[in-house]
């Protein structure tokens, strides 16, 4: 009996890795496929992978805990996945299915790991995912129908700076940083949402600013105010994300590499200044250089994360056979290490590549858009997403100092998952706008007699 169980657990473990590799391969292979049917097949295969992966994981979780609650929870999650996939597909047939699939897979991986870490957390997280997905479903309509959202630049600026100031003044200190506001019993992290507002604000400020130095200066000053407030709140991860997002948007809006170089140099100068000014910055850097020097205190989190990654090896210990709970704030900051430990480095590397595939899709959408505002929004959201992934995974693997930001859609945290769902929905809305634009172009071409020029034999 015990042998049979071991065999089942081991088989499930390796099958999950195989499925993850297949899925990841598909999410890049799709870029090379041209036929709509071929693409449909790819997406279908991906959906099958998600469901089997989800099943196998919960099969293991159940075998390990023999907790009946998990069966019901599993059924609920299956329903959610089925609904999410079907609703997006049917309500928005022209939405990017790659993004939908990636979103579902990342949520699934998150739910698997959070359930393994704590059942209570996972129930909370799942509730927020359901609510967030419902909100996300209406966002593409808003993007398409309400064009005045492109003209509310100053509202975004005031909301952004206002809320960040409020956090600075009123937030309680958790984990050494002022991050969370409590409203009506719910603690939430406004900076997660302000990221989106910030991207809209910068897009508004920069969309007509090419060559207009005064507008560029205004935009830069306002962006700097955001970043400064975050630095003072000691939310260094968010500050870095805002900073890089602004630089990238500035670069694309002005097409001026000198401005970006100047930005990078002043950013580096600011980082050096921060090192001298703030004790906690110095601590972060020295911990990054040698986490074992002050192992018991400041170096503990990153050391445990590294031990977890090493303990997992290429194929992981298997769910419940590692000890990811030894990492402080594992579900928020170090989800990637927990995944590496129990699901293995191969699985974790696939996860990195899937996040990359999301980013490439975001940029692709930006490329196809001609409206400067929407274009900058798609780019900005893509950059915040990619930066956040880079900061959290790079931090957990000690490539860069650990800043304690979440892995979007995977980490535990209501604000993070909700804001990322909204972000993905906005990009989907833009993607559909792109299709609208293209349709108009096509009409235009038909009228003028131009060939569509896609080179498709059909």
């Amino acid at each position: 009996m015990s042998n049979l169980m071991t065999l089942a657990l081991q088989t499930a473990k390796y099958l999950m890795i195989v499925l993850m590799v297949i899925y990841t391969f598909q999410s890049f292979a799709v870029f090379a496929r041209t036929g709509a049917q071929a693409k449909d097949m790819v997406f279908l295969r991906q959906d099958v992978c998600i469901f089997i992966l989800h099943f196998l994981a919960f099969f293991v979780l159940f075998l390990k805990t023999m907790d009946m609650q998990l069966i019901i929870f599993y059924a609920e999650q299956c329903l959610y996945l089925a609904f999410a996939l079907l609703l997006w597909r049917n309500l928005y047939p022209r939405a990017s299915r790659l993004l939908i699939n990636n979103m579902c897979l990342l949520l699934t991986i998150g739910m698997i790991m959070i359930t393994r870490l704590s059942y209570d957390w996972s129930v909370k997280q799942f509730t927020i995912i359901c609510a967030g997905s419902a909100i996300a479903l209406v966002i593409p309509v808003i993007i398409r129908k309400l064009s005045f959202i492109t003209k509310m630049t100053w509202a975004y600026v005031f909301v952004g700076i206002g809320v960040l100031l409020l956090v600075l003044v009123a937030a309680r200190v958790t984990n050494g940083a002022k991050l969370a506001l409590t409203v009506g019993g719910f603690a939430f992290q406004p900076s997660e949402f302000i990221k989106i507002v910030f991207v809209f604000a910068v897009a508004g400020l920069l969309s007509g600013a090419a060559g207009d130095m005064r507008r560029i200066i205004v935009a830069t000053v306002l962006a700097a105010v955001h970043v400064l407030i975050l630095v003072i709140s000691t939310d260094l991860g968010s500050a870095l994300i805002f900073f890089v997002t602004y630089l990238v948007m500035l670069y694309v809006a002005t097409r001026n590499p000198f401005l970006v170089s100047a930005g990078l140099i002043s950013g580096a100068a600011a980082a050096v200044a921060a090192w001298f000014l703030f004790g906690h910055v110095r601590v972060r850097v020295s911990v990054w250089l040698d986490p074992f020097a002050d192992y018991a205190n400041t170096g503990y989190q990153i050391s445990q994360a590294l031990f977890a990654i090493a303990a997992g090896g290429w194929f992981g210990t298997g769910l419940y056979d590692g000890s990811p709970t030894a990492i402080p704030y594992v579900a928020q900051d170090c989800m990637f290490a927990a995944i590496s430990e129990e699901l293995g480095a191969v699985f974790a590397i696939c996860l990195i590549l899937i996040c990359l595939s999301c980013f490439i899709m975001f940029i692709n959408i930006a490329m196809k858009l001609t409206n400067r505002f929407y274009r900058l929004v798609a780019l900005g959201l893509g950059t915040t997403y990619a930066m956040q992934v880079f900061l959290t995974i790079g931090g957990t693997t000690k490539l860069i100092p650990l800043t304690g930001v979440t892995l979007p859609l995977v980490s535990y945290g209501g604000s993070s998952v909700l804001s990322t769902l909204i972000m993905f929905a906005i990009v989907q809305g833009l993607y559909m706008l792109r299709v609208d634009e293209e349709k108009e172009n096509e009409k235009e071409r038909e009228r003028t007699g131009d060939l569509p020029g896609t080179g498709d034999p059909a």
Partner: protein, 498 residues
């Protein structure tokens, strides 16, 4: 409809490549997106770095991370694996887990205190090999069959054994010779780097450490847990003259033989006076004589003559101010002499006082380097990992750290060290039926107002084809010849059979 969908599907990769003629829009669009393409490449690069880091952590860094002393991940494996044994190459057990009829496990150390620091302990935290080899002791490479058999009968699997390089005969001799002295003895094989014995005192009994933990922690003065052989840092005293002599040989490659010094028992420079031990007057002597008699005044004057920067780079080539080439946990030795250092520092540093601090392991490596014709080997004490059934899992092969001096230089220093035994300060070793060479040291120290003299000896046996290199330090043992030399002799005697 289908055509539209197709158009919708084709753009993506082409947009990124930007090299195809099948662009749905014109060349203006292509340049329009240049910045976006650059941004994409930047992030693709960043993500590639992330993947690279994951690969790096799981290949290059993997062993170091899983074996890190702070890593307790493996401890949970104790639920299904019986901690492996630590044994010697001859098969003597140094640490073994006994399982009684009820399945209760106890870790037993047959040699008790004798191997306390090197083998370590596995309760109240971990130390020594129990800590550094924890991962291997709790891993199993037993055949799948025997693992399945154990699982079938719900028995635990035996972890792998760690085979050490230690020689119980030498360890025992060193342990008893050091007696009630505080200090350390390190013995290694010069041509391989194998550590044959390593004793540190005061010590503790790993069998009873959990009972005695409280009182040991309370007694901060004796710091019994500290492995003085690797982590104790002492002024090297006259044993450092090996490197000072080497410095002189390098400054005078052709005419060092003409060295002559007339020792009056003391020399003054400014308001600093350096005297020979007990104000002994050595009279006229050559370099060999100065070395053999450990003449402080002669070496202090050499110190004044040597170029500080060169002297420092010589010491640093011998691993001062850096980590030793070994995986044994150890402290860094210190050598402080700068271009602008005072004459006092020059003189005291040359005779191994000053600000220089060294670990016994480090001194043993230096003696071993001379014995091995100038080639320093990387010291190690785990010769292989084997399964419970004795099949080799992995093996350590001796490896060269560097050739730190020429064979000629090693030959001259050997001659000096032999003279020390023949007519110098280590004559007690000259009476044996084996040949020996070495250097004594009487390292004066001052801590919190208290002064004293540590007794040092470093050297090697069977000079023509050295078998053993040794470093002995006895805290407050007085002169090298008083305490350390007899200890070294006891160890050599045990090896060659008295």
């Amino acid at each position: 409809m289908r055509k539209k969908e197709k158009g919708q599907g084709t753009f993506r990769v082409r947009e990124i490549r930007l090299d195809t003629q099948e662009q749905p829009q014109g060349p203006a669009d292509r340049t329009r997106n240049t910045e976006l393409v650059i941004i994409t490449y930047v992030f693709v690069l960043l993500f590639a770095l992330l993947v690279g880091t994951m690969v790096w952590l799981n290949t290059v860094k993997h062993t170091a991370l899983v074996q890190n002393v702070n890593n307790t991940k493996k401890d949970s494996a104790a639920d299904r694996i019986i901690r492996g044994s630590i044994v010697t190459e001859e098969g003597a057990e140094l640490a073994v887990t006994n399982v009684d009829a009820d399945g209760r496990e106890t870790r037993y150390y047959p040699y008790g205190q004798m191997f306390a620091h090197v083998v370590g302990y596995a309760s109240n935290g971990k130390g020594g090999l129990e800590a550094s080899m924890n991962y291997d002791l709790l891993s199993t490479h037993s055949s799948l069959l025997s693992q399945l058999r154990s699982e079938e009968s719900s028995e635990k699997v035996h972890g792998d054994s760690v085979v050490t390089t230690f020689n119980p005969v030498l360890q025992e001799a060193a342990y008893y010779a050091l007696g009630s002295n505080r200090g350390a003895v390190v013995v290694m094989e010069p041509d391989s780097g194998k550590i044959l014995a390593m004793v540190s005192k005061p010590d503790f009994d790993p069998n009873t450490i959990s009972q005695e933990w409280e009182s040991m922690m309370a007694d901060s003065a004796s710091s019994a847990l500290l492995n003085r052989a690797c982590q104790g840092r002492y002024p090297p005293g006259s044993t450092f003259k090996i490197l000072t002599a080497l410095g002189y040989l390098r400054a005078h490659p052709t005419d060092w033989n003409n060295y002559y010094y007339d020792c009056q028992g003391a020399m003054s420079r400014g308001d600093i006076t350096i005297n020979c031990y007990n104000w002994e007057v050595h009279g006229g002597e050559d370099l060999e004589g100065a070395f053999a008699h450990s003449c402080n005044t002669a070496f202090a004057s050499i110190g004044l003559e040597l170029d500080n920067a060169q002297f420092k780079s010589l010491a640093e080539s011998f691993c001062f101010n850096t980590s030793l080439p070994t995986s044994l946990p150890h402290s860094q030795s210190v050598f402080r002499l700068e271009a602008g250092s005072s004459e006092e520092e020059q003189m005291t540093t040359a005779i191994g006082q000053g600000n220089t601090l060294v670990t016994p392991l480090h001194m043993c490596m230096i003696a071993s380097c001379v014995a091995n014709g100038g080639i320093m080997m990387k010291p190690y004490c785990v010769s292989r990992i084997q399964t419970y059934d004795g099949e080799t899992v992995s093996e350590t092969t001796p490896s060269i750290y560097k050739e730190l001096m020429s064979a000629d230089e090693a030959q001259i220093l050997t001659q000096f060290m032999k003279a020390t035994v023949n007519y110098g300060t280590a004559q007690e070793l000259g009476w044996g039926w084996y040949s020996a060479a070495g250097k004594t040291g009487s390292a004066e120290y001052e801590t919190e107002g208290a002064t004293g003299t540590h007794s040092w000896f470093v050297g090697f046996s069977n000079v023509d084809d050295p078998d053993l290199a040794i470093a002995v330090i006895a805290e407050d043992g007085g002169t090298g010849s008083a305490t350390a030399v007899p200890i070294a002799r006891a160890v050599f005697d045990a090896w060659y059979g008295s």
